[in-house]
Amino acid sequence: MTNAVDLSCPLPLTDTARVLLGHGSGGRMSADLVRRVFLPRFTNAYLDRLDDQAVVDVGGQRLAFTTDSFVVKPLFFPGGDIGTLAVNGTVNDLAMSGARPLYLSAAFILEEGLPLDDLARIADSMRAACQAAGVLLVTGDTKVVDRGSGDQCFINTSGIGVVEHPWILSADRARPGDRVVLSGTIGDHGMAVMSRREGLEFETEIASDTAPLHGLVAAMLEATSEIHFLRDPTRGGLAATLNEVALASDVGIEIDETRIPVRPGVQAACELLGLDPLYVANEGKLVAVVAESAADTVLARMRRHPLGAEASIVGVVTETHPKMVVMATGVGGRRVVDLHPGEILPRIC
């Protein structure tokens, strides 16, 4: 047996004294950072679940609470802008616990020199997104940093929603036999932003799918009590979400490539840039893990909702290969769908 120290290839630097871009990619490096720096210091029953929101009990009422920061570049892209993302992203994090989103906060970190017209445009988008989602922006903050100390405009939003059902939706609740349901096409948001950055143009413009998903979630929860987990697959894409479920629930997941809808323009942009749509961010899609008996009911209900018209059952939860996502490829082979280790991708949300 070869001893590791005998290998001539250099041992790479697994520990780093500084934050790297990969720490913000939503992949393994991000998870490592949270586990090493934050979890040991703040550990508690809510945080330790590592869901995208916490559901807390306040005077007998279950409330969902979440926060998210937005650093997308460029600020404006086809289908939306940083303002739309900042509202919909937080609304969706609340919605994935099954909550009805109610109130948001917004904090702006602005770089000296940002055109006021741009800021007004972003604020207009946020107002429109709040109205569409039926939430109120009730508190906020503004800071300005020196030119060069930020990148035009960063936004943080936090949100509160009320959980009006008794169920717990969580990544550790997937059981063998459950079905994996996807609400529509993948990769639209990430490729809309990246095509704009790379100056790629296609016959049909790729637009971000940013949208508030709580209406779709409410319809699904009305249809069945057998939804075990919901997540909007943002950074890290569908692959990251499925790996998280497999890991947290100690199950395997089998997905079928031919059932995962990808728009032709998104596929083309991915081919050009050497990306896999499974890893590309979405801002208006959800993944549901649903009991086998309820899968068809949920699917039918989703397809009647405008944001779920292209919904599809893309996979099944298995006892075999626990903690691993395996895909039947379109050509008839099989492969693992791994969590990406920490990619060098531009800021997309």
Partner: protein
Amino acid sequence: MKYVHEFRDGARIRTTIDEIRRSVSRPWTIMEICGGQTHSIVKHGLDEMLPREIRLVHGPGCPVCVTPLATIDRAIAIASRPDVTFVSFGDMLRVPGSTTDLLRVKSAGGDVRIVYSPLDAVRLAQKVPDRQVVFFGIGFETTAPANAMAVLQAARLGLTNFSMLVSHVLVPPAIEALLGSPDNLVQAFLTAGHVCTVMGWTEYEPIAVRYGVPLVVTGFEPLDIVQGALMAVRQLERGRAEVENQYTRSVSREGNRAARDVLARVFRVCDREWRGIGRIPGSGFRLSEPFAAFDAERRFRTDAAAPETTSACIAGLVLRGRKKPSECPAFGTLCTPDRPLGAPMVSSEGACAAYYHFRRYQPAMK
């Protein structure tokens, strides 16, 4: 999507594999040269669909994997200079040098940037005349023409703040080195379609004759690869050893004349060190004398001369097709993409990384 969907058509792929099954009478070892092909094979699960007799081994065609440690150290030394903006393809940033990598140079304040095209680096040099812009010119014959164009463009613009750290490698000498090695197992090659798009295939004809091996110019989509394998198997079964072209929609015998002319102007063939393989005569490009002023090695004298050790690194065996990544005792345990022990685990085109990302269920299922 045109030129993609029809080459991922499951029915046509299965028909071709059935044809291979009917054609094959005994075991054959076939090497695909290019990392892009390795990636496609493993990503689509093609090797598992092929009949048992066909053993696909993965070649040295990942430029990131074969770039020597000394070159990476030199890149890191240049990128760390305060007056330099260092520009590279994304993959190189994670490859470890002796003590650090380019991503860490960036996080420590170095100006390291990623581009998709070397011409972007030239444009950047125009925009920041007070900074030295250095492009990391790596890759096979495929990326060489664009890099050569960048040098020509910089020369035309009279840029004095643009240079290139050149570490180009060439496929045919590597194939000869593999075939000339006494422990060679490879009986046929799928050569890299994009390399041949530029260079054509005349260089491969004497190799087929001298070593008696079939070489099939092959594309990158799943149907391309199984068709290439079928053509190789038919040659092997009939005792033929010729150069054939599967990738007809892209490759002609003469290649791309304009691209070859640019290469001939800007580069000269030189000996190169290949990580994991060793020094191969005539296997690389350096800048030709008229363009020597753009050579970053000359412009920034660095004393990065890390000794290239040549112990029993399994990466070398993988790059020479002697071992599959999953046959390495460190694979998936001591060595992962997060903690790679060797370059093939670092690059997205590396064979070990491809196996890790797409094939990890195998050990668990055995």
